[in-house]
């Protein structure tokens, strides 16, 4: 029995051995989902970009392995860039557990692989910085899919175009629109990721110190969405600064819920909490319709 124990311990210790030189850990992956699916991966271990193509997006590890000669481990991806609609690729990678939930997602209009090869894609650090300074809300793989699956079937994905970073609304059928800078800032203000939030009004820069913003929903046939709460800034909030913040929050509601029926602010859960039974039982399409017909208001206390 003792020999068996020694053999077992040795087997347990050795079964985890792997040659680290034969394993690549990409940090940025670009996917062009049009047939044939193109992949480009950046790793910190190699100087060049690894490029490959396959019939489906899920064949990515094998395709990149054949191109590089090394085993591909995607658990350390920090950014996934997809050209066109990112929903399908993201969903299949998430279900296959190929990417970490905290991986940033970027949608580009076309040729994500070419942009990665040219070095024209924004860094994952840029996306993180934009979320931390309140320019964009936090849109990692898990939050993108959470809104797609659990909200009204429309999600927001960070998008890079000629003007820089913004947010685009995507459903499984295609792009619904792009959000303005104010709407992005409004969503960031309502999110939890921001570490600092500065804005200008009347030539003065205000820095957010604390906020107690809350969403409330009332009504039955026509929903009324209200954002209320107190915001403290340095220097103290003036009327002009308050209306600037209200503009951002109103833009966030108008451009997501009102224009497209997108639920990025847990509106459905807020409605269920308020006892609105339609929100509990309706389909995603019906919920979208209810949000589009909703009224909304913003009231900020200083």
């Amino acid at each position: 029995m003792k020999r068996l124990e020694i053999l077992l311990c040795a087997a347990l210790l050795l079964c985890g051995c792997t040659d680290i030189r034969r394993r690549l850990l990409p940090d940025i992956l670009a996917v062009d989902p049009e047939y044939p699916v193109q992949f480009a991966a950046h790793t910190s271990q190699e100087t060049g970009i690894i490029s490959a193509e396959a019939e489906t997006a899920l064949q990515m590890p094998d395709a990149l392995r054949n191109a590089s000669g090394a085993e591909i481990s995607t658990g350390h991806l920090t950014m996934l860039a997809v050209s066109g609609n990112p929903c399908g690729v993201l969903e299949s990678y998430f279900q296959a557990q190929m990417l970490a939930p905290t991986c940033a997602v970027l949608a580009v209009p076309a040729d994500a692989c070419g942009l990665l090869r040219d070095g024209s894609l924004p860094d994952p650090e840029q996306l993180a910085a934009a979320a931390e300074t309140g320019l964009l809300p936090d849109r990692t793989a898990d939050t993108v899919l959470a809104d797609l699956w659990g909200g009204s079937g429309i999600t927001a994905v960070c998008s890079a175009d000629a003007d820089g970073l913004t947010l685009a609304l995507w459903s499984e059928s295609g792009c619904c629109g792009t959000l303005s800078e104010d709407a992005c800032r409004g969503l960031a203000l309502l999110g939890k990721r921001k570490q600092s939030f500065a804005f200008a009004a009347d030539g003065i820069t205000y820095r957010l110190e604390s906020d107690t913003l809350q969403i409330g929903i009332t009504g039955a046939d026509t929903l009324h969405i209200r954002i209320t709460g107190t915001i403290r800034t340095a220097p103290p909030l003036t009327e002009a600064a308050g209306s600037r913040l209200s503009e951002m929050l109103t833009a966030a509601l108008r451009e997501t819920a009102s224009m497209h029926g997108a639920d990025l602010l847990f509106l459905r859960e807020h409605a269920i909490r308020s006892g609105i039974s339609a929100a509990r039982n309706c389909s995603q399409e019906d919920w979208r319709g209810l949000l589009q017909s909703a009224e909304y208001s913003v009231a900020i206390n200083r």
């Binding site: 029995m1 068996l4 124990e5 077992l8 087997a11 347990l12 079964c15 998430f94 279900q95 296959a96 557990q97 970490a100 939930p101 905290t102 898990d142 899919l145 959470a146 809104d147 699956w149 659990g150 909200g151 939890k192 847990f266 459905r268 859960e269 807020h270 269920i272 909490r273 929100a279 509990r280 039982n281």
Partner: protein, 322 residues
């Protein structure tokens, strides 16, 4: 007074808790507030049916015929937990599931032949590690928890799954027999508190993180861990994976130790435990629908038979005294 060979209160509680914790690690349905509520109600029902057994513990003498049934049930439990371990490997997309299961079988040959106090001591150690991990969980996840997600709609029934996951139920009457009266009482109350309060609280915390990711087909507990890293560089899933496999190995070992009759030679004892275990394992692998009877077995061996023995003993004693 605890004597040599008897289990302490902590050891008994640790084994009971780990037998429930391991199926929780392997769960495949998304966390929701409705699940936490049903989990709490089922646990309260189990506690209401199990805790009064303590009062009649001295009457719970399992006859040899039924003891054989309990041993078979323990072997089935071991096979069912092995199936759950395999399911966990598949959920986590581990590459060498077959090799791991083969090694588990070799390991079981070693561990099952040990005295059952070895399993109890290991359970204490694993429970301490799990407690440490659960202490870290809110530290890493409190910033991202959204209380509003507790209102995420979920209409899926979880009651039957709760019965199937309560793997400790048929083993509790046997664990209580290994302890002194006071130790048994404390173990049972600790187990009840864990099931009624702690586990639903973890599910609620998971809902506050994963609420909208209900369509995720993998393991919700490991999704929660992946979404709540301690820092940008430190994730705790490796620790939990080791802990989950440790719990699984320990629970299967304990089931097989319970399935092992007292015979003269070690080989015969091992054969008596392993043959039904391997039969049930093959049955569950070939016919996964057979796992549906697990909840019924838990009800039968955990509640109906122990209460039947006690009621019979009470009635028989009354007749004798009359």
């Amino acid at each position: 007074m605890q004597t040599q060979g008897q289990w302490s209160a902590v050891q008994g509680a640790a084994v009971m808790i780990l037998l429930r914790l391991f199926p929780f690690f392997c769960c495949g349905t998304a966390f929701s507030a409705a699940e936490a509520k049903q989990m709490m109600l089922t646990a309260a029902l189990h506690a209401a049916l199990i805790l009064p057994l303590l009062h009649f513990r001295h009457r719970l003498h399992i006859p040899a015929m039924l003891l054989r049934g309990f041993r078979l049930c323990a072997a089935f439990e071991g096979a069912y937990l092995t199936l759950r371990l395999r399911q966990l490997c598949l959920q986590l997309r581990l590459q060498h599931t077959k090799a791991l299961l083969l090694m588990l079988l070799v390991m079981l040959l070693c561990t099952v032949s040990l005295h059952d106090r070895a399993a109890a001591r290991t359970a204490m150690l694993l429970l301490c590690l799990a407690a440490f991990g659960f202490l870290l969980l809110p530290v890493s996840g409190i910033g991202t928890a959204q209380r509003i997600l507790l209102h995420t709609p979920d209409s899926a029934p979880h009651f039957a799954q709760e019965w199937a996951d309560a793997c400790e139920l048929p083993l509790i009457p046997l664990i209580l027999q290994k302890q002194t009266e006071s130790a048994a009482k404390r173990s049972a109350y600790a187990w009840a508190a864990f099931r009624i309060l702690f586990l639903p609280a973890v599910v609620l915390f998971g809902t506050m993180q994963n609420g909208r990711l209900r369509r995720f087909q993998g393991n919700p507990f490991f999704l929660l861990l992946a979404r709540t890293p301690l820092s940008d560089a430190v994730r705790t899933d490796g620790f939990w994976m080791l802990l989950a496999f440790g719990c699984g190995a320990l629970c299967i070992t304990f089931c097989l130790q319970t399935a092992k009759p007292h015979l003269h030679t070690q080989r015969r004892m091992l054969a008596a435990a392993f043959l039904p275990y391997l039969f049930f394992l093959a049955l569950l692998l070939l016919l996964p629908q057979a796992a549906a009877v697990t909840g019924l077995l838990h009800l039968l061996f955990g509640i109906l038979i122990p209460w039947g023995i006690i009621l019979y003993s009470l009635l028989f004693d009354r007749r004798e005294s009359a």
